[in-house]
């Protein structure tokens, strides 16, 4: 018997070996992604600090003269895969093609690199150590050294950010000293100040100790056997260390550093929910914590970080409700600067830059937060796939992913894309899911008036043909791109026939003239004086958007219905209606957002419907004119939607059968409107039948002027057909349509919309972010008091970086002690070649030793600045 068993076992082993031998081998002929590492020319006897930026290049071989409209791919299958490690293994096994998730696993990245997979890098989250402002002597009589600004500031020297990034994050990050994100435009705008501060606060534990010691002694503490004591007890700092991510190791590192200078640290490891009541809601004076490992996230490139100084340091922050922020003590100078920036109280960009400079210095002196790193995440994919991604939001964060995703060697085909989750919450454009896992497919099924540049955050026209922006004189607004115009005017009047408010009961807009008349008739409240009614309304900004003349002929919804002006007007109505009392779909949870919108909204007007031209008036002003373009393309907060699709939801909510928002659905105890699956579908179908029977036009008093009976019949008939074929009601107009939904299986299929009007490849120019590379060449030895010139080669993928795409090339000169002694602009010599000339005075200011020249390139086509450093010796 035993022999038989052994024989069987032997056969099984042999079979397993044969099977293993038959498995497909790795194709070693596949091109591995080229990795370009920024570097500088290294001369002998010179130590060079290298700033390394890895850029994975993509080989895109677009066949010439390919006639294809819409997306490059035929289908995209999206599924849920929660584990990064599994996702990587599945890409290697050809089970999935793309993992569109911001992954941070160092081990998984190592596998990706070993296996020659492609990956893209994004930045968006960032970490810091929040220091308690309580004390310095707390309610229980104990000491909180972080109550002293000088000690907080000293903590900057105690943290080796390079160590954290390299050793703890495995290189997945960028050292961070400031509240600005290192890859966003405001960092680039103020990069010289930033670099100055980063050099000033570089890792120097001895400096930290030298600042700390006199301050601690002044507080009455003494160091006994290397341990700080206060009133005979060790000074114990409680660290609330988050356990879910890399902040665990970072918190331990900071605790070690604090112990190394004599503090006793009580490490308390907690999850987000456990930590929140302690660091956020407890009174810092109670001393329940002394430092907390904070983490923040941004999912899109922020063009204007004007509020960070108020948000992170001031009691006037959005977090001002918390005991923590209420305990922040800031100087009058800081308050003034942060408020001016937050409220836009400056007239020129130069004035703004000066405010930023002051704020950055003061923020570091205050140091309620010790910034540690901007985290880098990666999204792995098959080497044959190429796709555009947003520098902050990744693949799923840009609408361009649907347009640009493709195989490098094939047109059409199917890509399987995984994310951590899928189909999380109901899909409806008004108040549905805003999970990134749901928004990602919606971004590919929807179309847009304008699309944010994935590398700069500026907007590009998609359906909009042109835009004209007018700003009141004296406001610091600039324009970068040529597709729109920017003008300034002493005053902007809102026309009398512009819509300025919404009458929800009668379902009509109120014009400016009507509003003024109403204001004139209003009786003042008792004891109050009558408000002076202006002759007309004014605004700080006017936007005029024009759509192509053939828009309504060429652009169709996925169910075949041509787009019409009613789709735009519906969007205008829904900006007000859900949050306005008297509405048939009034929703209390929407009041706040509608009130906020109305506080700066000044008016809008449909100037023409052939072509579609819309004017918009507002008091919200952005630094970039591109952001001031207000188009009413029917892409709502949570997805695109034609009027007839929304109509059946509105009808269902009017009858209290469904509700667009989760809050209202709970209050009414009905289902949350879901256009793609679940119990909502039967209710929507019944309401579609009812709409067809009753010839229902929502907001008929207003929308009725834009919808003919023929259009209404056609739209409802198309929607019914769509539902019969697709089994859902989610109709969009983008390059893909939602084909199949499998909610329990967490899978959905997007299929190419063949009638999409744009050619494939329209957005292919965003294939790779053009992050500049710099090489510096110059003498390794310089004689003080003599003029010297250095050359900087600025390139991208080996080719000279076009000077037209470069905003500025700066240089900073630091002496051997790290003090900034000179700064200036580099001169353009030739395409891709810049020179920096240090004057005799500048080199004369240098003492003998090793000095550092830093060159900073700020491109216009990508918001990431590039730095390179060159060290030379003075004699």
């Amino acid at each position: 018997m035993q022999k038989k068993l052994l024989a069987i076992f032997g056969i099984v082993v042999a079979l397993a070996l044969v099977l293993a031998a038959c498995q497909p081998t790795t194709d070693t002929t596949q091109p591995t992604p080229e990795t370009i590492i920024e570097t500088v020319i290294v001369t002998e006897e010179v130590e060079v600090e290298v700033v390394v930026t890895e850029v994975v290049t993509e080989i895109v071989e677009v066949e010439a003269e390919v006639e294809r409209n819409g997306a490059w791919l035929d289908t995209v299958v999206i599924l849920a895969e929660p584990s990064t490690e599994s996702a990587v293994a599945r890409i290697i096994a050809d089970d999935i093609d793309v993992y569109a998730q911001a992954a941070t696993s160092v081990e998984a990245l190592a596998t990706v690199e070993e296996e020659g997979l492609k990956y893209i890098s994004t930045v968006g989250s960032y970490n810091e150590f929040t220091l308690s402002p309580g004390g310095p002597v707390l309610n229980d009589g104990s000491l909180n050294p972080f109550g002293v600004p000088k000690i907080r500031e000293a903590m900057n020297y105690l943290v080796d950010r390079n160590y954290v990034v390299q050793e703890i994050l495995g290189g997945l990050g960028i050292p961070k000293f400031l509240p600005l994100n290192g890859v966003f435009p405001d960092y680039a705008r103020h990069v010289d100040v930033a670099r100055e501060l980063e050099n000033k606060y570089a890792y120097d534990p001895e400096m930290a100790d030298s600042i700390l010691t006199p301050e601690m002694e002044a507080l009455g503490a003494e160091k006994v056997d290397g341990v700080w004591q206060y009133e005979g007890e060790p000074v114990t700092l409680i660290g609330i260390i988050r356990t879910e991510d890399e902040r665990l190791q970072m918190g331990d590192y900071f605790a070690n550093q604090l112990e190394s200078i004599g503090f006793t640290v009580d490490r308390q490891y907690k999850t987000s929910s456990e930590a929140s009541p302690i660091w956020l809601l407890s009174d810092p004076q109670e001393g329940l914590w002394h430092f907390y490992t904070g983490g923040w996230i941004t999912t899109a490139i922020s063009r204007d970080d004007y509020d960070v100084f108020q948000f992170f340091y001031s009691p006037n922050s959005a977090y001002g409700f918390t005991p923590l922020w209420q305990n922040y003590v800031i100087t009058d100078e800081y308050l003034d600067v942060s408020e001016k920036l937050a409220n836009g109280n400056y007239a020129t960009l130069e004035e703004r830059a000066e405010l930023f400079r002051e704020a950055l210095y003061l923020a570091l002196e205050n140091s309620y937060r010790i910034w540690i790193n901007d985290a880098t995440a990666f999204s792995p994919m098959d080497p044959t796939v190429t796709v555009t991604y947003d520098l902050a939001g990744g693949i799923s964060g840009t609408p361009l992913w649907g347009h640009t995703m493709r195989y490098t060697d094939e047109i059409g085909g199917q890509v399987v894309m995984a994310m951590s989750d899928a189909l999380v919450e109901p899909w409806n454009p008004l108040a549905g899911s805003n999970w990134v896992y749901d928004m990602a497919p919606m971004r590919a099924t929807g179309d847009y008036g304008t699309i944010p540049d994935p590398y700069t955050g500026l907007t590009w026209p998609q359906r909009v043909e042109s835009a004209a922006i007018t700003i009141v004189e004296g406001l610091p607004v600039g324009k970068t791109l040529d597709w729109l115009t920017l003008d300034f005017a002493p005053e902007i009047q809102v026309p009398g026939d512009a819509w300025v408010d919404w009458d929800a009961e009668n379902q009509v807009f109120i014009t400016a003239d009507e509003k003024l008349a109403m204001m004139a008739e209003e009786e003042p409240a008792e004891g109050e004086e009558a408000v002076e009614v202006p002759e007309y309304f004014t605004a700080k900004r006017k936007s005029v958007v024009t759509y192509p003349a053939d828009l309504f002929e060429k652009h169709t919804w996925h169910d075949g219905s041509p787009m019409s002006p009613a789709d735009f007007v519906m969007g205008m109505i829904l900006s007000f209606d859900p949050g306005t009392e008297g509405s048939v779909i009034f929703d209390e949870s929407q009041i706040g957002s509608v009130e906020s919108f109305k506080s700066s909204f000044k008016g809008m007007k449909v100037v023409s419907t052939d072509p579609m031209v819309i004017e918009y008036y507002s008091d919200v002003v952005y630094l970039d004119a591109e952001w001031s373009v207000a188009d009413f393309w029917p892409y709502y907060s949570y997805g695109e939607g034609p009027w007839h699709m929304l109509a059946i939801g509105i009808l269902a909510e009017t009858d209290e059968e469904l509700a667009f928002s989760g809050d209202k659905s709970e209050a009414l105890e009905v289902e949350w409107t879901n256009y793609i699956s679940g119990p909502s579908l039967d209710i929507l179908k019944a309401n579609l039948d009812q709409a067809m029977e009753e010839d229902y036009i929502p907001y008929a008093a207003t929308l009725g002027e834009y919808i003919t009976a023929e259009e209404m019949d056609l739209r409802y008939a198309n929607l019914l057909d769509w539902y019969r074929i697709q089994g859902h009601f989610f109709v969009n107009s983008g390059p893909f349509y939602l084909n199949k939904v499998f909610p329990v299986e967490k899978t959905l299929t997007l299929t190419r919309y063949q009638d999409y009007q744009d050619p494939a490849g329209k957005w292919d120019r965003f294939g790779v972010p053009q992050i500049a590379e710099i090489e510096i060449d110059g003498p390794g030895r310089v004689t003080t008091g003599e003029e010297v010139t250095f050359d900087a080669y600025v390139t991208f993928q080996g080719e000279p970086y076009p000077s037209a795409d470069i905003q500025v090339v700066n240089y900073l000169l630091f002496d051997a002690t790290g003090i900034l002694v000179d700064r200036g602009d580099a001169e353009l010599v030739d395409e891709g070649l810049y020179s920096v000339t240090l004057s005799a005075d500048a080199t004369g200011a240098l003492e003998a030793g090793s000095n550092k020249l830093e060159i900073i390139v700020v491109p216009t086509v990508v918001s990431v600045p590039t730095f390179a450093q060159f060290e030379f010796v003075t004699e």
């Binding site: 599924l79 895969e81 293994a89 096994a93 809601l281 001002g320 706040g592 119990p679 499998f742 299986e745």
Partner: protein
């Protein structure tokens, strides 16, 4: 009236009396058992509510989360940034208040805890606080029902296979005590100390990553086949690895347990007597081993059946299987008490009913057992 008829009457009377006595005993037992079961369920559920809410501390956690969430949401709204400080504060407070009200935080926890309890006991599962079902509904009923199918499929396949295989093999081994197979099972039984997900990872590595003959996880391929026959085959293909992981992780210890159990009965005198009488092995198994062990087998089978309800949290996660284990895990993580209570109350009711019915089943299969009967004191 003859003596015979009197005797018949007496016997009939005695029978009736015995029947009435039995009925009364059973009724009394049923009532008492129901009450104790109900009390047990109430205590169990209330303890679950208290533990899931950390005795009310979760309210503090949720308040912190709400404030963080509202602050971050508002910070990203351009219009909000344009408001005056007072307007910003008012907006913030309103949003916080609305959310607290929605989650019921405007009521003390103790009040809500009893409401949760009552809703649970009356099977009024209501709506979840944060979770939605896969099809987007907030009804706890749908959140559970949508995951029930996949859970029963995975757990049912693996546990039924495990149960019958282990009982069958254990019976065989109990007859071949000390044989090579018997010693092999004893040797391999410690392998069950490793959890099923541990085997799951190995199985994925071998059959999905290395050999590439089975899928990594999920319940269906992507995109799912449209033909129902192909769909079924695809589901079967996807179930092989997770079911195998659950099966492999417990099979040896399960065989070992049953085999030891059967061995005790196999060495009883009456079994030896049966062997001496020359009865066949099958006859001995059926009459003298299986029959007296039937109550234990049935108990084990019934408890196994209701355990299907709970799913397997980590194994489901490793295999990305959309089961109730992951739902419960997610509900605990999000402090979604209605979902936690919903899952627990159904399990509690199933357990109580099973335990209750088992008493009657014991009486049916084992003549030595009497429902409501008491052991006489010595």
């Amino acid at each position: 009236m003859t003596t015979e008829s009197k005797t018949i009457q007496t016997v009939a009377g005695a029978k009736r009396k015995a029947w009435v006595g039995t009925l009364s005993r059973v009724a009394k037992y049923t009532a008492l058992r129901s009450v104790t079961m109900l009390i047990t369920v109430v205590i169990g559920i209330y303890l679950t509510i208290l533990i899931a809410n950390m005795g009310g501390y979760v309210d503090e956690i949720m308040r912190g989360q709400i404030r963080e969430q509202v602050a971050m949401t508002l910070r990203n709204q351009e219009e909000y940034k344009q408001l005056s400080q007072e307007a910003k504060d008012a907006r913030f407070q309103r949003e916080v208040m609305d959310e607290e009200q929605r989650l019921g935080l405007n009521q003390p926890f103790i009040v809500r805890s009893f409401r949760f309890l009552w809703d649970g006991l009356t099977l009024n599962l209501g709506t979840a606080l944060r979770m939605t079902s896969d099809t987007g509904s907030r009804q706890v009923r749908l959140i559970i029902l949508e995951r029930l199918g996949p859970t029963l499929l995975l757990m049912g396949t693996s546990q039924l296979l495990l149960f019958f295989t282990s009982v069958y093999l254990a019976l065989i081994l109990s007859r071949k005590y000390g044989s090579f197979f018997d010693r092999a099972v004893i040797t391999l039984s410690p392998t069950s100390s490793a959890p099923s997900w541990f085997y799951g990872i190995f199985l994925i590595l071998i059959f999905a990553a290395l050999l590439r003959i089975l899928p990594f996880g999920g319940m269906i391929g992507a995109p799912p086949p449209e033909n129902s026959w192909e769909y079924t085959l695809d589901v079967l293909k996807h179930i092989i690895l997770p079911a195998s992981a659950l099966f492999v992780s417990l099979i040896f210890i399960s065989i070992y347990n049953w085999r030891t159990f059967f061995l005790i009965f196999s060495s009883e005198d009456y079994v030896e007597m049966a062997k001496a009488k020359g009865l066949s092995d099958r006859e001995i198994e059926r009459r003298y081993v299986l029959r007296p062990t039937l109550p234990t087998i049935i108990t084990s089978f019934a408890l196994m059946l209701i355990s299907l309800w709970t799913g397997a949290i980590v194994t489901e996660t490793v295999f990305n299987w959309p089961g109730l284990g992951r739902t419960l895990f997610s509900a605990v993580g999000q402090y979604d008490t209605p979902v936690i209570v919903g899952l627990t109350i159904i399990y509690a009711y199933l357990l109580a009913i099973t335990v209750f019915l088992l008493d009657f089943i014991y009486a049916l299969v084992d003549p030595r057992v009497k429902v409501g009967g008491r052991q006489k004191k010595a």
